[in-house]
């Protein structure tokens, strides 16, 4: 019998996927329903915005560890 599962399909790079899986495992697997392949995962529809926010937090932290790139100059006036 064919089954239909409601959810949100997330398409991303393999690197981002690794981060998402990591976030998921640190939060009692409350986001991800299933990992479909290298670049796709199925996420609970209600949790997707929360997951996105967590991803932003995580990537911000990572950015800070790198050297901050020079800001676009505002020297003109």
């Amino acid at each position: 019998m064919v089954k239909a599962i409601r959810g949100t399909l997330v398409k991303c790079d393999a690197s981002i996927k690794a981060m998402l899986v990591d976030i998921d495992s640190k939060n009692n697997n409350e986001y991800i329903i299933e990992e479909l392949d290298e670049e796709h995962i199925l996420v609970k529809e209600t949790k997707i915005n929360q997951l996105k926010a967590r991803l932003n937090e995580a990537s911000c932290c990572m950015m800070k560890t790198h050297l901050k790139e020079p800001e676009s100059s505002d020297s003109d006036s």
């Binding site: 019998m1 064919v2 089954k3 239909a4 599962i5 409601r6 959810g7 949100t8 399909l9 997330v10 398409k11 991303c12 790079d13 981002i16 998402l20 299933e34 479909l36 392949d37 796709h40 199925l42 996420v43 529809e45 997707i48 996105k52 991803l55 990537s59 800001e71 676009s72 505002d74 003109d76 006036s77």
Partner: protein
Amino acid sequence: MSASSSIQALEYLQGLPLQTHRKLYEAPSTVLAVFRCMLPHLAKSIVMAMLYMPSALPAADLEAWFKPSARREREQALSILDRLHILTSKREDDRSLSYSLSQGFQRSLRQAIEGSGTHRTFGVPATKAERREEKLGIDFLDQHARTQWEGILFFMVSGAAGFAPGSVKMDVGPGTKQLLHKGDLVRTVHETPKITKEGFTFVLQETNAQVWNLLIVYLRMGHELGMSETEVLSFLFMLGSLELGQDYSTSTLSDTQLQMLDDLSAMGIVYRSSKDSRTFYPTRLATTLTSDSGALPGTDISTNEKTDSKAQNKGFIIVETNYRLYAYTNSLIQIAILSLFTKLQHRFPNLVSGKLTKESVHRAVQSGITSAQIISYLTTYAHPQMQKSNPPLPPTVMDQIRLWEYEGERVEVTTGYLMREFGSEVEYRDVQGYAEALGVLVWKNDAERCFFVSHVEQISAYLKKKKEGRGGR
């Protein structure tokens, strides 16, 4: 253009139940509007061909109209007609499938085309006695429509653009404000309206799409307030068929529709000289609802306008390869919209200048504007000098905006359904092929025999039909 603007309306219509559709199709003006602006061309051809058919059309005959290679197009057209309950399919005694137009739709469309019947759904022009005053000019109506509509847009962007509340005159009624909140286009934070993701998308749309967008929110809200969906919708479709510059009598309207008149005049979609006036004028926002012509109360209207209007500013932005941006405008809405994704630096009487920076684009992306929207906005309003080159924007700038977006937003999401556990390879192939033909297939994995679709209703209907067909054999 018209396709994008009526798409939300189409989606809303598709979601309505059969009974509502039946009632809607009793009004010829509604049927004509649905036919004119909701249906794709192929579906129109099918409807036209079947309009005067005396009996049902066998499915085999219908299929003979299409080349075998056009299965996808055929399925799409038929599925829209089916979802709108325009086309009904029936199994004949010998198990063959046959199609016919639904009765009400057929009758009303015939009436609309022939001008027969006494339905009065195309509006009743006001009599001299009802009018009591001079007829208003088109200029005045356009002016009214634009003031009201720009007021709404400005109300939405003013918070984000950093204007203090009350610093600029905004003529937005409490009803409209409530509507914007209900549609989640703005949220009030600390007394200031704050624009949301959806709001951004809304502001950057063309006017016709904006009007539909807001009207659909209105429809949903009206439903909660106990207004009849059918009456609201058929009134909207009727407005679309009215003539600009003509005044119409309110005597044939129901209570719900009179109530709507008040709300719509606050948005500038209709005009009434006073609350208890017995006539109303549709504005350009209303009359272009169901047509292809531009609804922008600016493009063709303000050729004779001298105030700060959109049309006059058509093509006013210059972007240089060093990300500097100059906009020849003094319209506060324009400036407010620009400030959503630009770092504005100077303002002169007829010019603002600024710069597209990483931070400004990031900020925009985070609040939900996509790079595509920014680029299309800048391209649409590029200065005539820039329009001469192709593409109008410097390619480096476009690429950089996309890259900046990619930094901020790295996942692509689609809501829908994952289909799996198919009995056989053949079944999987068949259903997946159907999903692809419908255009709802998002992702598939042949090895695992599963795929992802954005809409499931028709797939399940298809599966059910298949099962029945097999069971009967």
